[in-house]
């Protein structure tokens, strides 16, 4: 059975590296970092998200697509041609690695919405892209868009993350932010589309945990046009962040107060103005509260956010050195790439750590 037809609870490893100055660095260090946490995975899923890797195409949406067959590719490309200007397309460069098998066709397209089509749809550009991605993923059999942001990309497969990294030749890419994920699922996924990270537009989420509120969150978010086809926690978390940030206009700090809201007893003791704001966020967005253990790293254009659930039921360590910022499930995964650290700490449950590019966007 393909992932998405059943629910696959898992335990995992996550890691993230961010350069505040926007200085681009090779994907080698993220591979080294996630490889340290090999025991947290079981080889059934691994992946990376990388930001700032396509500077020459930075105005265009980079679609990464899996195809099960040539006919799926044909159907999908037909759809893309009808809706987008395709500036460039190519196979994503990979190298043969014995541990990675059964790979699908993996292609990459740099696209921009066709102006006439966009005007006709009367949507804003990002909503148009989201709708098209959903359309391909649900209606075109055998085609799956797993990355759809500008100047960023997701690389994932079934296998240990360090093997996946080598497969995609990640060390040849240079970006200002990399996140990584190693998976330990309790069911055999077998399908690459189900691996993590999950991405929509420039939001990517890697997640370690299992949320008890999954179905409450899923049924609430599906009201707003999202389709949870993968039945994974990561998918619903990504949609929630997209909804709150892009559609509702909440700031990232406010999003942390919604998805990892403080307890009522804590809220009661805050000063009046803050108490009202916290109470408002909690009741207006009650269905977006996430309970259950999680530590997530959210990547977005120009920044990264790390957040633990409010009971801190999963590990997460954060560190800084000069302009570099590191976050991982274990300190060892940070020290392997940078042992001389200015600051190391474990954020409290429910307190998000947000870093952004010092100069704004690149």
């Amino acid at each position: 059975m393909r992932e998405g037809m059943f629910r696959n609870p898992s335990g995992c490893a996550i890691s993230g590296i961010f350069s505040r100055s926007g200085k681009r660095f090779s994907g080698k260090c993220i591979i080294d970092s996630i490889a340290t946490m090999r025991d947290r995975s079981n080889g059934l899923g691994g992946g990376f998200a990388a930001y700032g890797i396509y500077p020459e195409y930075k105005e265009y949406y980079a679609f990464h697509i899996f195809y099960d067959s040539k006919s799926a590719k044909k159907d999908c490309e037909k759809f893309l041609e009808e809706h987008f200007d395709i500036i460039n397309l190519s196979k994503i460069p990979t190298q043969k690695v014995p541990e990675i098998t059964d790979e699908p066709l993996i292609w990459r397209y740099f696209v921009a919405p066709l102006p006439t089509k966009l005007a006709d749809s009367q949507m804003d550009e990002r909503e148009f892209v989201v709708k098209c991605v959903f359309r391909i993923n649900t209606a075109i059999d055998g085609a799956y868009v797993f990355s759809s942001g500008k100047n960023m990309g997701v690389f994932k497969a079934v296998g240990f993350p360090e093997d996946v990294g080598r497969f995609y030749r990640l060390e040849e890419y240079e970006g200002y932010c990399f996140t990584a994920h190693g998976r330990y699922p309790t069911n055999t996924p077998g399908w690459w589309g189900g691996a993590h990270p999950f991405a929509l537009l420039d939001y990517s989420v890697v997640h370690n945990g299992e949320i008890s509120s999954y179905d409450a969150n899923r049924r609430a978010i599906e009201m707003y046009g999202y389709k949870c086809t993968l039945q994974t926690d990561t998918e619903v978390i990504t949609y929630i962040i997209d909804y709150l940030h892009r559609k509702k206009g909440l700031k990232l700090e406010e999003i942390c107060l919604v998805i990892a809201a403080p307890f009522w007893t804590t809220i009661e003791n805050k000063p009046e103005e803050e108490r009202q704001e916290l109470e408002y966020l909690r009741s207006a967005f009650a269905s977006q509260l996430i309970t259950g253990p999680f530590s997530i790293i959210v990547g977005f254009e120009g920044g990264m956010m790390a957040l633990n659930d409010r009971l801190k039921l999963r590990s997460m360590v954060v560190a800084e050195k000069d302009d570099m910022f590191y976050v991982a499930s274990e300190e060892a995964a940070i020290r392997i790439i940078q042992n001389d650290l200015d600051k190391v700490w474990s954020p409290k449950g429910g307190e998000g750590v947000i870093v952004t590019l010092e100069k704004g966007r690149i």
Partner: protein
Amino acid sequence: MAINYVYPEYEIVRNYDRCINCRVCERQCANEAHKYLSDYNKMTSDDSKCVNCHRCVALCPTRALKIVKSNHTFRENANWNGKSINEIYKQAESGGVLLSSMGNPENYPVYFDKILLNASQVTNPSIDPLREPMETRVFLGAKPDRIERDENGRLKNNMPPQLKLSMPVMFSAMSYGSISYNAHESLARAAAEMGILYNTGEGGLHEDFYKYGQNTIVQVASGRFGVHKKYLDSGAAIEIKMGQGAKPGIGGHLPGTKVGEDISKTRMIPEGTDAISPAPHHDIYSIEDLRQLVYSLKEATAYKKPIIVKIAAVHNVAAIASGIARSGADIIAIDGFRGGTGAAPTRIRDHVGLPIELALASVDKRLRDEGIRNNVSIVVAGSIRSSADIVKAVALGADCVYIGTAALLALGCHLCRSCQTGKCNWGIATQRADLVKRLNPDIGYKRLVNLLTAWKHEIKEMMGGMGINSIESLKGNRLMLRGVGLNEKELEILGIKHAGE
């Protein structure tokens, strides 16, 4: 009466070895079923008067009494059972509509008893409610469409009026008239202490209870009894009663004998007149008329109070709920066919309506499909019997539940279903002063508080077991439920998987 067609259903069994002739049974039975025979120095009982309310049994100091079902039988007949036969006899004699009280007792499926809950293990830790915060607070009301910011970029509070509850339970509507003053006082005081709300029902609000206004939902029913400006202003919310689970399609009925001076004053009707509520509201013949009433009430109360619309669960409840969600109402209350009543025609109570579990599942799904689930909160009733029912109802999609029968049981009701006679021996469903006295609110309210405190703790235990520490994460979380012994259609309507999947 020369021919006794109907043999008493219950027999009073007295253990004469233990009876000490204290006569408390005689003194406490309003139906005069017991009598002391001084000539024989012996107590005797008349089974034909017994309604099986257990007052005598509960008060007998030596436990000398019990009530048993009579084993006087008709010939076995799976089709014409004794009950069906007796009902024909009663109607042949009286020519009248059969009247019953409390909820549907017939053998229809109870879906709550066919649903199982989840617990977290290994991949996700369960949470210990004694050591970690476990939150049961709920806010009922419409949620805002969009956020607004002020000049400084701070979030503006554009939240429509909400009801804040310490746990997802409220006391259901039971009118002053169908139940006694002391019963209302017990409900009001318990609601105030627990941080929840109680409902006046369609009998208006007695002036002594205005002081509990913050914990009161005032009801506007088709008869508009007791509805005036001060009444609307006194409550924390206003409920428009469009229907009731026990008797969908018809209105309430309070016999003239129960309309004494106090009831007459509170309901604003003449003493001794029957208080009959019309079947529909005669100013609401369609959904747009309802919208008009919702907004009239909002105007009358300066948009400060949430408006609840209460409907009975009938076949197209999902479509009706969708209409109500777009009518400006803040909360929809759905009453299932097991709901209780002071008095209703037996055939309507037993054969009309839908189980609340199915109604809730389809309303919740329909509102989500249409993207309007956040326009309203959903409260369900009829019948919630335990904290497990509450957890299952929330997981199916409810924000909160109403309890009626459960609250009366806490006050001493023994579900003898004779409320319509007005001779409730426990002082609950009566207006006779000597009987009302038997319900001391100091004792009654404490029992309600105990019941809810116990349930709150049980809810926390079940939530903790599921790895959930805030009730909002349980709402609509149907993956936490599995059905047992349900067919495909039932599972589909409930939106849950079968146990083992």
